[in-house]
Amino acid sequence: MSQTVVLGVIGSDAHVVGITILEQAFSAAGFDVINLGVQTSQEEFAEAAVAHDAEAVLVSSLYGHAEQDCQGFHDVLDAEGVDALTYIGGNLAVGQDDFEQTRETFEDLGFDRVFNSETDPEEAIAALRQDLQITTTEAERATISS
């Protein structure tokens, strides 16, 4: 059985291109992708994670307000009983000169992994496979059958 990931753009951000490409990439890699689209609230992420028993919640943000949009996000997930890995990626801070600082900020907020906007989808997929302890072989089988 394939693993499910929930994907969406948080807050009032309407940048759709990134998650469209992520959806393709994770689907091609054998994951079941629930794409919530743009302008997704914290509650919608939590509800979808519960409804689909998701292994991971992938949050995208490109308009520079990710920190505000993610305040209390992990409390909401906890309250709904979501037990999933949480990743966030994109342009996470306006004028992010020092990405290591940004990474720390979002790890402190509770995210398991933090990616900048230059990250290839493959990198996120490899990380998720590692975190979920999926062997490459299994994943490759999934890709071939997809």
């Binding site: 291109v17 469209t20 490409i21 393709q24 689209g37 302008q39």
Partner: protein
Amino acid sequence: MIRDERIPADELRRIDDEIRSNWPTGDAVDFDEAIDYHESLPAHKQFADVLENADKPLLQPRAGVPRLDDQIELLEYLHESGQADLLPTTIDSYTRDNEYGKAQEGLEKARETGEDTLNGFPAVNHGVEDCRNLIEAIDAPIEVRHGTPDARLLAAITFAGGFQSFEGGPISYNIPYTKRHGLEETIEKWQFVDRLAGAYTERGVRINREPFGPLTGTLVPPSIAIAIMIVEGQLAATQGVRSITLGYGQVGNVVQDVAALNALQKLGDEYLPDEVVVTTVFHEWMGGFPPDEARANGVISLGGMTAAIAQPDKVITKSPQEFQGVPTKEANASGLRTTRQVIDMAIEQEIDIDGIAEEQDLIERETRCLMDTIFEHGDGDVVQGTIKAFDSGALDVPFAPSDSARGAVLPARDDDGRVRIFEWADLAMDDDIKEIHKARLSRRADTEGRDQSFRMVADDVDAISDGKLIGRPQNAGDV
């Protein structure tokens, strides 16, 4: 069940009364008096006539600020220093969401502080009289540009206010702009807008309507854009609109862009009723811009060159400050003049590029596939056909944030930089056409020594802002 049928006159009046009661400025609208007003405007402010009779592409920028006097000053500047032929009035976001109360707050604050507290001109709040003050102050035709799913009150007030051109449509101002508006809902709202424009038209005041061609602005395959333009044109024509400007956003490949503009005019003329005058508008590149004014000027100039060859009736220009958002008026005028210089230097030259006819033929065949599936989905009714085709995925728009479109179709550039379809999902298209796209993308994959994949899509999305047309892999790139 909503269908492509003209709204009866009594229903038009009923809705008109209803929507005009949504905000106090609605009261001032008097249809008969508005007809007189339009008739009183000089010939050079009659939008449809000016556009349809021009002998070269007319240039129009984007521009909107909250206060009337600032808007007048801005448009005067763009007309004089930018030499814009047609002018815009871009509406603020609150008005687009029908939040007239918030728009009012913003407008009042703008008047108090002198700052631009709204991102456009709140025409509903300004009301009929101030719209007319704007029309009278500016010595050129002005179009309303916005992005409003329910633009009924905006239309009622701006039409009465003397505007004779109105951008948007039920698909083109829904799919790329909002997440949760249903298509059925926006079609109903826009039928009213078109019907109102049709009522003016019937009385001799031709309101020009302009569906928004670029859609999501991100590598939209020409045939998808053209099919949606034709549908919106048909819906407008049914309601009595007789001057329709179909839009198309530059993809950056000159042959494909010229072919697409040719196909847009040809299919528009063919699919729309004879009594409609069909014109075309070309939008300079709507995707990501380079974060550098010098490079942005290069992107703008390629648009001007394309316009000089294809000769659309109108060009919507970009500014060198596109990357950073709303441009200064100087940068806006600069984009206009750069475009004008390129067009005027190139337009008298005979530049017939090989392969345009073939590309146009392909675009036309694709568009017909989409029009056929809409017809079949709706059993002959274009409204039902459009709703059902979007629902089934037979009609789709790449990178659509809206829940009303699948957004499952994915484009990628071929080895020549033309936008092809990499992921068809359920898009209705003949297999032989799919094969052509596949072969073209396969040639690119060979050149780049990689498989066709969504990586190409991602690379292509960023390519122009990174200084190239095609998103080649980094290692195969620069020396």
